[in-house]
Amino acid sequence: MSAGVVIAIAHNTVREAVRNKILYALLFFAVLMIGSGAVVSELSYVENQRILQDVGLAAIRLFGVAIAIFIGIQLVYREVDRRTVYTILSKPISRAEFLLGKFAGLTLTIWMQMVLMGAAFAAVSLAAGAPLGWPHLAFGLLIGAELALVVALSTLFSAFTTPMLAAFFTTGTWVLGQLTRELRDIGAASHVPSLQLATDAAFRVLPDLQSFDLATEAAHLLPVTASDLMLPLIYGLGYTTLVLIAAVAIFERRDFR
């Protein structure tokens, strides 16, 4: 595995994204949504600042996920559809290097978008006099890890199916990932062994994306401990690695006809 090759492909992927106008449109709407928190908060008599931050943090997360899925699902498909993959893979690079380079490039792109959305959020909060602190930074770090995981999932699905199906699978996994704890609790409360087994298996197999959500802590400036941050980060890193290994294994076997 050559780091130089992975970096070259990642750099090219970032450059392609930066020159893509659709991404700027999505970013514009994200910033607009964050800004609209100020308007929405004005409609309330109480906790204006909390509402402003709730809307802003939700916008960062949802637009981040939308962008991750939107770009991620086209990751492999576009390369195959436009046949650029023929010239790339005929070079002395492995398919794993190619896929990891694409993943790294897309993840970096999305993190750059997040920094811009975060800056817009900070500007709106400061303008409204809403407090900012360590929980906000922790929120950003964990969303960054969650989005890397979402990109890995869309990479996995785009390695073997069409963008439409990849979008469906990735979105479905993300939605289920928000609900795994509830599903497990429902199963446990049901006292039906087969249901308990199924919901417990779903909890273990599907990503537990709720562990990345510190929006409440950030909006209320609640204390965030080192373990609140580190455990999800380690979990995210491990899960993302496993998903990428599966994506590479599938991609390695694929024929480019």
Partner: protein, 311 residues
């Protein structure tokens, strides 16, 4: 040539594709074997759908063979390292449209392992070779098809490979572009490179190739000198004639010519050896000869006759 070392060795490659979601498979390559030797221009020829591009994709590691083995410089084509000294131009190549010609060549140079200190010089040299120096800073999306083909050639050569695989390299080029590519291929041979070329254009085979393999229906039907095959093929000539009277038309048909047309204008196909006699008859009858176009039998006909002759 026979004492030259082998660059490409293909042994019993079989490739099955699954056309749909079912279990049924379609065999595209039926255990093909051939050799390409160092320093030669090897023509891999055959009609559309014969399996030429599939073979090339197997050699580039883009498709896994169902059975058999292929190697380049002794390394299995499934290994990444087998492509270290290989350049590849796909048919109708596509590139990242957001990049300029110079940027794309820098990118390919980097992923091909060209040292950073040599990249700029190598990219400048190749841009000059393929005549794109003045358009180097323009985005690929603004390039014509011919210019994209030139970028394709340049990226295939960016790391100074020892063997170059070209899939229909003249595709989409005007006559001047075709000549330039032919000159480039000959130049590569003069530098000691090996060239593997997929083509269905017999003129290119005749002008360029030292050896050929003929692929028909996923099977190698011939491997050897192209001249033996081409010289054995029957040449024919097409004439377009106006003011042809019925008597002369009947005389021509008696001499084996095939006539198609209406009124007084006809397209006449005759064997090359009968052209002089037919032209004499036409001049005598005061018919107007509009064009004379010599040509060979189609590739399919040539391949079929090759196969028949080998039985």
């Amino acid at each position: 040539m026979s004492e030259c070392p082998e660059v490409v060795a293909v042994d019993g490659i079989v490739k099955d594709f699954r056309p749909g979601f079912g279990l049924r498979t379609k065999r595209v390559l039926h255990g093909i074997s051939f050799r390409v030797r160092q320093g030669e221009i090897f023509g891999f020829v055959g009609p559309n759908g014969a399996g030429k591009t599939t073979t090339l994709k197997v050699l580039m590691g883009l498709i896994r063979p169902t059975a058999g083995r292929a190697s380049i410089f002794g390394r299995d084509v499934g290994e990444t390292g087998a492509r270290r000294h290989v350049g590849f131009l796909p048919e109708n190549p596509y590139f990242y449209e957001h990049l300029s010609g110079r940027e794309i060549l820098h990118f390919y140079a980097k992923v091909s392992g060209v040292p950073a200190r040599d990249r700029r010089r190598r990219v400048d040299l190749l841009l000059d070779w393929v005549g794109l120096s003045s358009a180097a800073e323009a985005r690929i999306r603004t390039y014509s098809k011919g210019m994209q083909q030139r970028v394709g050639i340049a990226q295939a050569l960016v790391h100074d490979p020892q063997v170059v695989f070209l899939d229909e390299p003249m595709s989409g080029l005007d006559p001047i572009g075709r000549k330039e590519i032919r000159d480039l291929i000959l130049r590569l041979r003069s530098e000691g490179k090996t060239v593997f070329m997929n083509t269905h254009i017999l003129t290119d085979v005749e002008m360029l190739c030292d050896r050929v393999a003929i692929l028909v229906g996923g099977r190698i039907r011939y491997e050897g000198s192209p001249h033996e095959v081409l010289e054995g093929s029957e040449r024919e000539t097409d004439l377009v004639v106006d003011r042809l009277d019925p008597e002369t038309a009947a005389l021509l048909e008696q001499r084996g010519a095939t006539l198609r047309g209406q009124g007084s204008r006809f397209e006449i196909r005759v064997a090359e050896k009968a052209v002089q006699e037919v032209l004499g008859l036409l001049v005598e009858s005061r018919a107007e000869v509009l064009s004379v176009t010599p040509h060979r039998a189609s590739l399919e006909q040539l391949f079929l006759s090759t196969v028949e002759g080998s039985r």
